[in-house]
């Protein structure tokens, strides 16, 4: 869409504005941000150099990196690793027998509190996929088809056994609410490559049946970072971004003229009082107006060939996981830094077999299609794709056919973006209970994610409550060197 703003040099304005904004902001706002974090040299690199949007504080990057963005396919509820990525034939042999106490003694338990703990064998067979022969459930034949691009981490563990705090921990690296989410950290650290879209976008998939885990806006909150770094949720019904639509009857011309008048009045005020915040405000109106055109264009899939839609199993407008996977690719193409896509139906306390069958049908095709599609477009090298949830499931049965929450061992899959494909990393014990070989903490996972994006997790920090707050916490974390490409 041609607007009267396209004639102006938005880049230069934006950078100049942002630089000054940050100076002005320290008066009233950022507050908790340490001054040193505001003083990154890049912020002082002359306003004449055009750079898009927020340049990020990690600029240049701490570590050489090709990866530019993340697509996190977040499987909320806690997918069973035992029916997806972690084959445990021994658990099958033990099916129905008491779970050996040596595994469970003194360990946390959720809904199985006070119940007899019995082994529950894997409900699906596993097949070897790809040249590397990675074992994956036979319910994921298409994901298996891209196995040589996948790194399956089978030795994840986490600290929180209930959904809400486990989501908070997986997303923010903290259990206490109010910390920035990983997307916010990345946006703050690396800045944005798009002037027309938010740099951190969240998609929540609609689906049939099941329990639909509740999730909280905390999971994409900027926490103590300024609000500009928070995730923006794209909705599949109503306005894709809240209040994106020009009011009925006003029309594009009315909107454009209104914004022009608002900006003109703001400029007059600025000329008089010299408050740099006013320039920031003007730039945000311009970006809002651009978003009013760019977001509908983004979500309009009419120009996607039918073959592409079919490969994902996407029916535009249905808000499904499949459509969102395709949307994730479109967001990646447009320079969005962090794309988080929620599937919310993995909490299989009952009927783990039939439920995973259903869920596999929803995620297998689009997940594989996304990886394949990115690869075909040459984007897999600079896009990190992650598939996983907040925890795993017990090797013990719940009520005979389900599995309870489990934190001692679970699987996460990574692909592209500087991660070595065609490998499995780490292992749980023979019953799939605890990560025993190369255990990977949530902080390690975050550290590795930041690393492939060129960020040293120790150096991406902001002063908060007296501490150098980091995504990876205070206890220390390590980059998983063994899975780097």
């Amino acid at each position: 869409m041609k607007t009267k703003f396209s004639a102006a040099p938005p880049d230069a304005v934006a950078l100049g504005v942002h630089r000054r904004t940050f100076l002005g902001r320290t008066i009233a706002g950022v507050g908790s941000l340490a001054l040193h974090s505001l003083m990154h040299p890049r912020l002082w690199a002359g306003a004449s150099q055009p750079a898009p949007g927020w340049p990020g504080v990690v600029n240049p990057r701490h570590v050489a990196s090709r990866c530019k963005r993340v697509i996190f396919l977040y499987q909320a509820g806690g997918p069973s690793h035992l029916e997806t990525f972690d084959p445990k034939p021994r658990l099958g042999e033990m099916h129905g027998k008491p779970m050996p106490e040596s595994f469970t003694k003194g360990q946390q338990i959720a809904q199985l509190q006070g119940k007899a703990l019995k082994c529950f064998g894997p409900q699906f067979s596993f097949r070897r996929f790809g040249k590397a022969g990675i074992e994956i459930t036979d319910r994921f034949p298409l994901i298996g088809g891209v196995a040589d691009d996948l790194c399956v981490i089978r030795s994840m563990f986490t600290e929180q056994i209930n959904h809400d705090p486990a989501h908070t921990f997986m997303n923010t690296g903290a259990i206490v609410a109010g910390r920035p989410s990983m997307g916010s950290w990345l946006l703050y650290g690396l800045g944005t490559e798009t002037q027309d879209l938010p740099g951190f976008v969240v998609l929540v998939s609609q689906g049939k049946g099941g329990q639909m885990q509740p999730i909280a806006a905390r999971q994409w909150s900027a926490g103590f970072l300024p609000g500009r770094f928070q995730g923006v949720k794209l909705n599949s019904t109503g306005d894709p971004v809240l209040h994106l639509r020009t009011p009925e009857g006003l029309g594009t011309a009315g909107q454009e003229e209104s914004i022009a008048a608002i900006s003109a009045l703001n400029r007059i005020r600025h000329d008089r009082v010299g408050d740099p915040e006013i320039l920031t405000r003007i730039a945000q109106y311009e970006m809002a107006f651009r978003m009013q055109a760019s977001v509908p264009e983004l979500v309009d899939m009419r120009n996607e060939p039918q073959s592409v839609l079919d490969s994902y199993g996407a029916r535009p407008g249905d808000g499904s996981f499949a459509s969102n996977c395709l949307l994730a690719r479109r967001l990646a193409e447009r320079g969005v830094r962090f794309i988080q896509l929620y599937h919310r139906d993995w909490d299989h306390h009952q009927a783990v077999k039939s439920n995973i069958d259903l869920k596999a049908a929803e995620v297998d095709r689009p997940t594989a299609a996304l990886i394949h599609d990115l690869k075909q477009r040459g984007m897999l090298d600079d896009t990190l794709v992650v598939w996983g949830g907040e925890f795993g499931r017990t090797p013990m049965s719940q009520d005979g056919d389900g599995r309870d929450h489990h934190i001692k061992g679970f699987s996460i899959v990574m692909a592209g973006g500087g991660i070595r494909g065609g490998m499995a990393y780490g292992a749980t014990d023979e019953l799939g209970y605890a990560a025993v070989e190369n255990p990977v903490s949530v902080h390690d996972f975050h550290a590795t994610m930041l690393h492939v994006l060129g960020v040293d997790h120790e150096r991406l920090s902001v002063k908060f409550q007296g501490l150098d707050a980091k995504l990876t916490g205070v206890e220390g974390a390590k980059v998983i060197k063994g899975i780097l490409a």
Binding site: L23, G24, I27, A28, G29, V30, G31, S32, L35, L38, M39, A110, Q113, I161, D164, P165, V176, A177, G178, P198, V204, M212, P214, I215, A216, A217, F224, P226, G227, V232, N235, V241, L242, H243, L244, R245, T246, G249, E257, S258, A261, I262, L265, N266, I268, R272, V273, G274, D275, E277, M287, A288, M291, Q292, H349, D404, R459, Q465, G466, L467
Partner: protein, 1042 residues
Amino acid sequence: MVICLVLGLPNAREGVAAAPHFNRDIRPILSENCFACHGPDEKKRKGKLRLDQRDVAVAKEAIVPGHPEKSELVARLDASDPDELMPPPESHKKLTAAQKKLLRQWIAAGASYEGHWAYTPVARPTVPVVAGASAPIRNPIDAFVQDRLSREGVAPAAEADRASLIRRLHLDLHGLPPTPREVDSFVGDRAADAYERRVDQLLASPRFAERQAVFWLDAVRYADTTGFHGDQMLSLWPYRDYVVEAFHENLPFDQFTREQIAGDLIPGGGRRQKVASAFNRLNRMTTEGGAQDKEYLAKYAADRVRTVSMAWMGSTLGCAECHDHKFDPFSQRDFYSMEAFFADIEEKGFYPSGFSRGEWGPRMALPSPEQAAALERFDADLKKLRDEAAAIESSTLAKGQAEWESRMSELDRAKGAGWTNVVPRAATSANGATLTVAAGGEISAGGMNPDNDTYTVIFRPGPGRWTALQLRTDTEEDYAGNRIARGWRSYVLTGVEVEAGSASGRATQVEIVEAIPTARGQSDRYPAWAVIDKDPKTGWAMEHDHSGSHRLVLRFARPVETDGESEITVRLRHDSEKRRATIAKFRLQLTQVEGATSDNDALPPKVLAALRAPAETRSDPQKQILAEHYRQPAPELARFRAEEARLSGERALLNGQVPAVLVTKAVAPRMVRVLARGNWMDESGPIVQPAVPARFSAASPARENLTRLDLADWIVSADNPLTARVFVNRLWKQFFGTGLSKVLEDVGSQGEWPSHPELLDWLAAEFMQPGPVSPKDPGARAPHPWDIKHVVRTIVTSHTYRQDSSGTAARRPAGGGLTLLERDPENRLLARQNPSRLDAEIVRDNALAIAGLLRERVGGPSVFPWQPEGYWAPLNYPKREYSASRGEDLYRRSLYTHWQRTFVHPTMLAFDASTREECQVNRAISTTPLQSLVLLNDPIFVEAARAFAQNILAEGGGELDGRLQWAFRRAVARPPLPEELKVLRDLHAAQLARFTASPRQAGEFLRVGEAPLPERPDPPQLAAMTVVARAILNLHETITRP
């Protein structure tokens, strides 16, 4: 050069000849770079060296006073061996050359230490005398500020122009803009005390309390939902009203503190103190399946320590949950000892009936005296009625019972018992929904989704003698956000009407006397009685868990006899205040059973079994079961049943209206242990008793078994160095945009040395124990200790507060050199005022006030302003949709907005409102494109623009320019400049032309919102003016306090 400026002036004094000042210059360097390994945390301490204590540092020769060259500390800063270098390379910390120089100078001058400023007792400093002040010194604040300015060689700004000044004052004290009349009356009032009188007026208004409350509600994390997982509703709003009332009455802050932390323990405490004690129940809570009591009790307890220490004392004691504090003198034991004060609070970690029954621990009903009396009357009447009914022995009903048994047995043999599905001939919606009838008679609502609706179902039941109708509702998978209803959480069925008649004959109204729901359909707020109580607004709903299917049996006063041609019409009314609380999917059933229940066979299985047993073989219990059940259809008891249904229904409705609040109830304290690394499963740590942090124990009673009241007393004791400083520092932030010490959440070692330490201490002293009233200010009333309004009044009447903010700081001095903005970008010298963006609530309140839409009423249950559909879709347990309030509640002040912790109202969130999950004392202020989208397109603001435009046309005179000037002035308290007026005029002309050419579009544009339109609107005129009004509401100046 620039970098020094950004660092702020306190650190930018390099080259100043005076010796470095420990607290100002040295402590920040040591704290940031050294204390983590050489500070208070014993476990992390390296080489037994601590640099936070001079004697240790000297004994270890890290510091040799007077001899930087002999001091190991200095040597290590420049060590070439990475193993020797400090701070170690892996810490990524590095000292600047200037910082190293400061350390050397300080050691050379003797390396004197000072106690941390915030931990030393507050002593009232002497007010400096400023010679030759160039601006008024109205009170000690000005003396402290100008004393510093004169030393810096900077002149204070002049007083702001009177219109800006009064707009600033209204926005700061009330969070609302002055009306043009209020501006005029102030600008025209040349009396010497005009300003002070206005301040006093504003402080006396409840609006001041409403504004002030928001800061406190952020700190104590007040919200309307639990915040974990299903984020269910809580009833806490009476606490919010307590806070408003406390600020309005200017409750001394020490009393305010005691009532919140220990209101339940205050001897002689009444209802207000108990409501205040809800403070201890504001933490997030969970009912997530599988949550362990112990784990969550630990989470709640830690949350309380974080909140109390930060909200009152600006301390990060919360950081000592897993280990000793790294920077401040707090041990891990201090953390758990603080926690132990709260161990007497009756609570659960996991609330098993939170979701299903809304039970979240101790609560207190708050009936008005009238309500209490009415409830007592109901109880007495019900008891009397039940006694009378019970006096009629079942034996006296034997004849009727025998006939009933024989009729029911016959019906059962003829397969006529149970519930008969109705197959509708027609099912229609009054307001445009589509009702689809499935083959089995099930009816689904779809299509248009009106706020209120009446479903009409017509059917021919065939021959029969019907005694009751049953409504069965079911889930509807297709409604993503909701299942049993098309909106909100549940449907609200406000009335059921049944008409019966033959196809040819006249229809007669069927009287319904009893409405009996299944268990989950029973609640006081939405009792089934409300379906038949003739009040169109009351209704039946599932208050808590509404998943799955629900049934409602509606018993007729008399059986309805039908033949093959008879038609029955059933109307289901949904006329409640809740929007779209309409049934999603339902079926209707009839029965001929007398005394029918919602069981599948219309009788409870054991009744049916007894009935089916031949009379001669019935056991005694079976006989008793039948006799007992017969009391339901017995005609002799009909009067009692109808009366009981009415009385208990009305009692429920009344009781459902009685406010309630979660409160603190003290029980025997739980044992509290130090948890190693914060691990709640570790039971090896020592048991601790309630105690204040050891560093401050001198100020605490030396008794055993300290209580929350002792804690509160200590917090507000004159010996507590933190509380008063922290509170006045935050008040300062409200009026200047930055605290005197900038880090509001941490005045500890990692916090900031205040820009004006003496001023901060003077304010803290004045807060705790005010000095005599200045003879220069005869209007001032005598303040009391801990007097919040007194401190606010002192601040806003100072010249420092009244200074100009409009741009002089950006002007370059005549002789060249730095502008003030360049020299002091953060305004830490206070040589001017700062413009600042309005807080989230005020952005909306300001727009509503300008538009004339604001409806002010202090207190009450939280309200639901417009919110986009589907925003709550990610929620579950229960699934729910937002139901916007009706009428005036759409336009209440934003502090009364329902606060959903996991999904805060998006209009508020866009402008950086707190989610209230954790204590927050310093909201970030960001500027984002989403804010622009809200101001441009959110129906809240579009409706405000339309209402504003209506007022502009009605009150702005007859001429366009006059109207535009009126409008502009209404928003920002100043007339537009000629060039501004031209922009508005041009915008108006373009819009008027477009809307005149397309009046249909004008009509569409004006349709937003529910505020009434004028009686005879001129759509193009009004639409064009709405565009102009909207532009004005969007101005940076409009949402900025000058």
